[in-house]
Each structure stands twice: as structure tokens, then as C-alpha cells.
Amino acid sequence: MLEVHGLVKRYNRIPAVNGVSFTIAPGEVLGYLGPNGAGKSTTVKILTGLIEPTEGRILFGGQDVRNDFTAFQRRLGYVPEEAHLYPHLTGREYLQLVGRLRELPRRILDPRMDHLLRLFGLWEDRHSPLASYSKGMRQKILLSGALIHNPELLILDEPFSGLDVNTALMLRALLRGLAGAGKMIFYSSHLLEVVEKICSSVVILRKGEVAANGRVEQLRYMMSQASLEGVFAQLTQQGDPETRVREIMDAISA
């Protein structure tokens, strides 16, 4: 189980994340929601070790990850929001790099790499540089890299970004399958419909703080909303979209 307790991250004393707590049990998909600037990416960066929290604890399997963060990283797979990749590597070379850095022996790595490249439809482009990949292809290679070592915890930041419909449907089913196999999935996204369909529980952030944390149906019931979209709009206090649209129309025609 992944347990996050009272996570705080301040930049120049300004909190980007303030007292965030949640847990993910094996087999659970946690949706992590919030408007832009709510602190989702900061949380992801802390979980992956890119930045250190100012306060708070992260427990994995009951152990504080700070005791051995590398051991924690060995057990997680990560798909970043933006495809930060070495542009001169080919798709296959990227997977090889990731697999080797995860110390997968060649006899396991090579066939697994080739399998994933075929399954994600990247086989024909495996020797092309990542710089020439489309957004969807980059996303697929990142997903392959995140799955290649069969991680216990998956941290996904907008994993559906740029994927075609078929791959998106496949990924949706894959996430359910992975959860069914006991994996923990942290899924940060803006796609409320997808979150509603695949997540067992959600955390909604607002200005760096947890505005809601619970099961989707429970939140809908509590907030008297028919959909997660309604819950989200109410909790994050988004302005009336109709008014905003009118203002934009006025601005471009002025």
C-alpha cells in the first residue's frame, strides 16, 4: 500500500502542495484531479523523487520511502505529463536504456522490449529517433518504459494524452487489468470521464490542498451531483463556463 501523509512543498515559502494525504491499496486506481496549478504535478514530482517535499511522509508497504528511495523507485513505473525523452535515441534504444537502468537481464529485456514495441504498434518505427515520433507515439513509448519492469505502483500523469482512440481504449482496459492483478495506480488527469470510468477513488486538489478524497460514487452522493464533472466544478469553484465563453467571444470580436 502507498500512504502519503501531510505532504507539503513550498517554493520560496509559497506552498504548491499543502498537507496532502491519501492512500492507494493494491488493486486500486486513484484518480488525482485538480485544475491547472492545483499541485498535481508537484505531487507527482515528489512521488517520483524529482523534488523533495518540505514536509510529510510517504510510506510504501509500511516503510518510509526516504529510508531507501531507490528501492521504492525500483518498484514504480512512471509516465510523465510531458514526454521528456532524449530525442536522439530511437524507440528501441530508449526502452533498452530504461530496462538496463532497471537492471533487467538481456534475456528478459530483449523479448519484452520487442513485445511491447509490437503491442503498442511501434515496431515499424523502433529504429527511428524519438525526435521524429508523434505525440501519441511518444506516449506509447513512455507507457512501454513504465511497464517494462512489471512495477507494483504506476504513476501516470495524463497517460491518455495524444493517444488514438483504439490505443486509449486498450490502455483503459489495461489499467483495469493491472489493477485486477493487484497493482497500485496513481492516475493524475483532467479527463473526468475516464477517471470516472476507471478509478475506484479520487482525490480532488484545490490550490494545493485536498478538497475531496473518497470513492467516486460516495462523492457524487455527498455533493448531490450526477457526475464527477459536477463534483469537480463545485469543489474547485470554477466560474460559470457560459459567462467565460461570452467574455472570450467579446474579446476576439472587439
Binding site: T70, Q73, E82, R106, I155
Partner: protein, 579 residues
């Protein structure tokens, strides 16, 4: 056994090794090049130049030492040998310095390293250690490549009755030259580590780029003097105290000490060489250890932000743009080019290298003039002084214009060029004119404004202005020639380096230096004291410029914009059916 060796690189090894291997390979990549592996073409050209020039150098040295060996006294031979050892040690240092400066941005892990490796089971310490190890290995390979050839060549061609060919002399020269190169490399890494730790995070990128530019300029300016070292053999008997503060001499001391010279002065130099090398290596290592946490936070949590413009600068810039570029698409392209040049560190570095070459030529010209016997001060206006003065704006415009022209080919975020593609219709000439205006306002105009007072100070009002006018017209002609077949919006097209053989490029630049700088400055120097000659020269230059300008516009009107640089065909058709 053989198959095991072949399979070994393919196997998965320890994380540290894999990370070092990864970082080592990334040193061969460049964001400016769109095709991976293209560096091989450039490297091939470079090796061809080194190989062909080394044949000439070897022959030259062979002849030199044959002549010295014919002299009965071994003293001239010995002094020439010491001077040549100092030359190769200094040259190795200079080239290593330039190499380190060009790799300046890769000396420490970058943002991409941290982001692309995020989530992998790697401690920040692992990334730092692996980067340092890969950097040392990469620099080591370069240092060995630079120093091995001269270390083998010099003892081989100089063997004779005064000194027999032997491994020790090759080895000592190689060891001392390689140690000297490593010293400079580590010193520069340590210096960057120091900047990294002492400067505020938001100031570091600007200061770092400035330091990098200054170092490149200083090293390029030093090259002509390094090449003059073999001619200073007579000074090799002296033991000046000042030399104790001159790093290449320390390593010459180490070289001589290894060859058996136990003079106290030489021993002092050798001791300094060893202490300095150890200190630099230790400082670089400490710099790495000291900065790894701070650097990581700076890179990830403090992204580089360009300096903000004050309101009056923005207004002034907008007013100037409105006057010089009346059409909005041209202004848009002009703004894009200007802001990219101001903010892209890689592009600024390339421009710095070109400027540094020009500065080195000018600096060397002044030193050569001042050390000539016929020089009686700047108040005596000789032909040589007039020619040198006229060559200042010409040198600067040649390398600045060529530098910009080259820079314009290097892409910035290639995929973003759609914004110009979708707006190209009807605006093509505006976009190209923006490149033309950039060259004028960023190269020709500032050079003329800056060098004008220098020419007036050196030659007086009348001659100074008379030298500046034809220099300006020559620069305008060069600009027209460089833009004649220019067919792209700067920074928006893919780039394939090594299209033209490097040797050809070097020869073109050599010819440009001879004709554009030396010959033109000689003509200008003659014309400034002769009114009819001056008027004829200006008239001729003006006519050529007008003709070229008209022809360039005609070509631009007929052509189309390129967004992808394609490889030259292996076989060129003669196209006899065309006019």
C-alpha cells in the same frame, strides 16, 4: 570467447555502468542536428583535415630536424626540441580548453537528464557520479586523440645523432602533454562548479554563458601565439621567474624532468605541474560533490527565465521595428529571430565562436603590427597601419555575417515551425526580408558604429571615414552574397551538418580571409589617400552591391521557403537540358 566479447556490450550491466554508458553516448548528440549520427560525417571531415595536415607538418618537421642534425653543435637541436615540446603541450591545452568550453553546458547533468531519468531507480548522487565519470572518459578520449599523434611524430622525425629514437621520449611528451590538458580540463570544470555554488540560481545561466564566451575568445586569440612558439627556440635557455606562473611551462618542466633534467628550476616547474594537476582534479571533484544537491534544485525548481524588458526598451524597440519593418508579418518574423537569438544559449554560443575568431584575427593583426621593426607608434600612419585599420570592420563583418548565416540554419524546436508554414501564403518575402534586416541591424550596422571611432582614432577624421565607407559597402556586398540563395526563415528548418566537406569549408573561409579581409583592406588602404581612387572604389562597390541586391530580390521572388534540409544527391545530374 570472441562471441562473448561481442555479446558483452549488449548485456545488461550494473546501473552505474549503464548510466555512464548512456551519458558517454549523449556527448555525441546535439539538439541542433535533426539527424542522429550526423556527427560522424563532421568527425570524418575533421579527421581528414587532421590527417592531411599532419602529413604536411610531419614533412616540415622532418626537414627542420634533418637540417638541425647536420649542425655539429647539439645546442640548436636541443633548443628547437624544447620549443617544440612546449608548442605541443600548449597546443594540446588550447584545444582541450576549446573542447571543454564547447561542452560547457554538458559538464553537469541538465534538466533533460533529470526529467528523462525521473522515476528510475537512481539516486541523484548516481546521476552526478555517472555524469562525471562519462565526462572524464569523454575528455580523456579527446585528450589522448589530440596528444598521441604529435607525441609519436616529434621523437620519430627528430631522431638522429643528437638524440636516438626511443619510447621514453614519446612517452614523456605524451604524459606531460596529456597531464597539461587534463589540468586545464579539470580547472575549467572546477571553475564552473565554483560559479554554480557561488552565484544565485537566476544569475548563473547568464554569467556562465558570458564566461564561456570569454574563454572561447581568449583561447582562440591565444592560438596564433601558440603557433609562434616553435620560433621562440632561442628563448629556451632563459629561466625567467615569470614563467613560474605560466601553466604550459610547468608541464614543459615536467616533460624535461621526466627526460632526466634535474636542474632546480626544472624541478620546481615539474613540482608545480604535479601539484596544479592534482589540485585541479581534486577541485573539480569537490565542485561536483559540493554542488550536486544545489545544482539539482536549481535545474529542476528554478527554470531559466529571460530578463524582463523595461517598458521604455519595449517602446523603443517597437518604434524602431515599425520604422524599419512596416509590414506586420515582417515585424513578427523579426521579433521571432531577435528573441530567439537573445534567448537561445546554443545559438549565442555559436555566434560567440564566430565573433571570437574575428577578434582573434584583429588582435593578432595588432600584435603583429606592433612587433614589426617598421612600427613607430600609432601616430605614424603607414600603409600597414591603414590596412590594419581597414581590416578591423572587414574581419568583424566577415565572421559575424557568416556566423549569422550559419546560425540561421540551426533549428529551434523544429516542430514549432508550423506557425510559419500556415502563415506563409503571401508573406514569404516579408519573412525573408526579416532575415536580411536582422543581418544588417545585428551585424553590419553595429560593427560599423563600433569600429568607426576606432578607425577615426587610428587614421584621423578624413582617412577614418574614407576607410569606413568602402568597408561598409564591402560588408553590404558580402551580406547580399550570403543571402543570395537563402531560402528559409531563420531557425525553422532542419539542419544536416557535413553537407559540404569540411576541408572545402575551411578553404572557403581561407579564401574569404585572403580576398575579403587582406586584399580588400589593402585596396582600401591605398584608396584613402587618393581621392579619385577612393571615388572609383566606392562607385564600383556601390554598383556591385546594387546589382547583387536586385538579383537577390529576383531570386527570392521566384523561390520558395524550405523547412527541411535534405541530403545532397550522391550523383549530381548535369542538367544539360536546362539553361
Amino acid at each position: 570467447m570472441r562471441s562473448q566479447v561481442q555479446e558483452w556490450p549488449e548485456e545488461t550491466h550494473r546501473t552505474g555502468f549503464e548510466l555512464r554508458r548512456h551519458f558517454f553516448r549523449r556527448f555525441f548528440d546535439s539538439d541542433l542536428v535533426s539527424t542522429p549520427g550526423q556527427w560522424r560525417t563532421v568527425a570524418g571531415g575533421l579527421i581528414a583535415i587532421v590527417a592531411s595536415s599532419s602529413i604536411i607538418v610531419t614533412q616540415e618537421y622532418f626537414g627542420k630536424y634533418r637540417r638541425l642534425l647536420e649542425i655539429d653543435s647539439p645546442e640548436p637541436y636541443r633548443l628547437a626540441m624544447i620549443a617544440d615540446h612546449l608548442f605541443f603541450i600548449t597546443l594540446g591545452m588550447c584545444l582541450t580548453g576549446l573542447f571543454t568550453c564547447l561542452q560547457w553546458g554538458s559538464l553537469f547533468p541538465g534538466l533533460r537528464d533529470y526529467l528523462a531519468l525521473a522515476g528510475l531507480p537512481l539516486r541523484p548522487r548516481d546521476i552526478f557520479t555517472a555524469k562525471f565519470a562519462a565526462l572524464v572518459a569523454f575528455a580523456g578520449a579527446f585528450i589522448v586523440a589530440v596528444n598521441a599523434l604529435p607525441s609519436a611524430m616529434l621523437p620519430a622525425v627528430s631522431a638522429g645523432r643528437h638524440q636516438v629514437l626511443g619510447g621514453p621520449s614519446m612517452l614523456t611528451l605524451f604524459l606531460s602533454a596529456a597531464t597539461a590538458s587534463f589540468f586545464l580540463f579539470f580547472a575549467l570544470v572546477a571553475f564552473q562548479g565554483l560559479l554554480l555554488n557561488l552565484l544565485p540560481g537566476n544569475l548563473f545561466p547568464r554569467v556562465s554563458l558570458l564566461v564561456q564566451g570569454l574563454l572561447v575568445t581568449a583561447l582562440l586569440c591565444a592560438l596564433p601565439f601558440v603557433l609562434a612558439i616553435p620560433g621562440t627556440h632561442a628563448a629556451m635557455t632563459t629561466r625567467p621567474d615569470a614563467a613560474l606562473w605560466w601553466p604550459p611551462v610547468w608541464f614543459l618542466g615536467l616533460d624535461q624532468w621526466l627526460l632526466g633534467n634535474r636542474e632546480p628550476y626544472v624541478s620546481r616547474l615539474a613540482a608545480r605541474a604535479l601539484i596544479a594537476s592534482a589540485t585541479a582534479a581534486l577541485a573539480a571533484l569537490l565542485g561536483y560533490v559540493w554542488s550536486f544537491h544545489r545544482h539539482r534544485i536549481r535545474v529542476i525548481e528554478m527554470p531559466f527565465e529571460p530578463g524582463r524588458e523595461t517598458a521604455w526598451i519595449r517602446k523603443l524597440r517597437d518604434a524602431a521595428a515599425g520604422l524599419t519593418a512596416p509590414r506586420s508579418p515582417e515585424r513578427a518574423a523579426l521579433g521571432f529571430i531577435g528573441k530567439t537569438l537573445a534567448r537561445s544559449q546554443q545559438h549565442r554560443l555559436v555566434l560567440t565562436v564566430f565573433t571570437a575568431i574575428a577578434a582573434a584575427i584583429v588582435f593578432n593583426g595588432f600584435v603583429t603590427l606592433m612587433t614589426e621593426r617598421g612600427f613607430h607608434g600609432f601616430s605614424v600612419r603607414t600603409f600597414a597601419l591603414r590596412q590594419l585599420a581597414a581590416s578591423v570592420p572587414l574581419s568583424l563583418t566577415l565572421f559575424l555575417l557568416a556566423g549569422y548565416r550559419y546560425l540561421f540554419r540551426l533549428p529551434v524546436e523544429l516542430r514549432a515551425n508550423w506557425v510559419f508554414k500556415v502563415n506563409e501564403g503571401g508573406n514569404r518575402l516579408d519573412f525573408l526580408r526579416a532575415a536580411h534586416r536582422t543581418l544588417f541591424w545585428a551585424a553590419v550596422a553595429p560593427v560599423m558604429l563600433l569600429t568607426g571611432p576606432v578607425l577615426v582614432a587610428l587614421l584621423g577624421w578624413r582617412e577614418g571615414v574614407c576607410a569606413l565607407i568602402p568597408a561598409f559597402l564591402a560588408a553590404m556586398i558580402l551580406m547580399e552574397m550570403l543571402l543570395f540563395r537563402f531560402d528559409r526563415i531563420p531557425f525553422t528548418s532542419s539542419y544536416l551538418p557535413g553537407q559540404r566537406p569540411l576541408i572545402e569549408t575551411v578553404m572557403i573561409y581561407g579564401a574569404a580571409v585572403v580576398f575579403y579581409i587582406s586584399a580588400t583592406s589593402a585596396v582600401i588602404a591605398s584608396a584613402v589617400t587618393d581621392w579619385p581612387g577612393f571615388l572609383m572604389l566606392c562607385g564600383a562597390l556601390l554598383a556591385v552591391w546594387a546589382h547583387l541586391s536586385k538579383a537577390r530580390i529576383e531570386v527570392w521572388e521566384a523561390g520558395r521557403l524550405e523547412y527541411e534540409e535534405t541530403e545532397e544527391p550522391l550523383v549530381h545530374a548535369l542538367d544539360l537540358n536546362k539553361d
